[in-house]
Symmetry: D2
Subunit: 93 residues, 4 copies
């Protein structure tokens, strides 16, 4: 059971769509399509991946961090620290 | 023939690796792996896609924009405008 | 009293430094310095602002969100929602 | 004379506005305003700085890179390489 469990089907569907986008980009390159058109698709796939990150993070805060805080103790601090580090990785990716 | 043509094999290899990363993320979610571990992999795939964008853009500037400028005329202005718009989409994705 | 209160002096010092960076960029432009050198300084100031955001968000999660969750009730949900929205704005800026 | 010379007044005005935004953020922190409200302003200032970067880069491509390419020779390659590196710093900031 994870923060994202209730959202699992929707997440898997989105990842399958992103996988298809990446495969489509490879096909465009294989067919020598125009650089800027390829770039537009890479930006779209990047945005779709970032939306997955934001969704995962939201569920993580809503469930895992909230539960840890409700239980109290050192685990709560660790969870918040871990979430902050994940946010920093996300902003810098 | 596109700006990235000389780099095609390497680009296709990178995209296949990213496709595998995205499939791996779906598998992690299917196996209920820990949110933060999933997030780390999504950030890695996002970074890999951004590196593809930067590579495509570099080749585009090096070849397509440079050729258009060398040929002169309105096409050169259009190419620079198009490249700037692609950079803006990249920075905002 | 805010999440960042303990960190206030350090935050104010960082913001004064960023203000100085922005003023320095204006001076560079006024002196017709080379575009790429100006761009390097704008990227540095942007990174410094993002670091301020990440610091504020970390303190907000550590204090405000944690307190709201410990107190329970609807306020906790609202705080998490609000934090997620701020993270999304941050990733997309 | 730089790529941005024709745009100098507008750029200086934007930078003065950003300087004011950063000073306003410091004032908000000094007045213990709510974290999320501060964060919203930091995101706005970050976006404004990124818009300055995109503007500078566009002018740089339009003038400096284009001129170097028209003159031909090794300088053209160097300018394109330098521009690509600046774009990479921008995307990763």
């Amino acid at each position: 059971m994870q923060g994202y469990t209730d959202d699992k089907d929707r997440l898997l569907k989105r990842l399958r769509r992103i996988e298809g986008q990446v495969r489509g980009i490879a096909r465009m390159i294989d067919n020598d399509e125009y650089c800027i058109d390829v770039l537009t698709q890479v930006s779209a796939a990047t945005k779709a991946l970032q939306a997955v990150s934001l969704g995962l993070l939201d569920e993580h805060l809503k469930h895992c961090v909230t539960d840890a805080v409700a239980n109290g103790g050192k685990e709560a601090d660790d969870k918040v620290k871990e979430a902050s580090e994940a946010i920093a990785r996300l902003v810098r990716s």
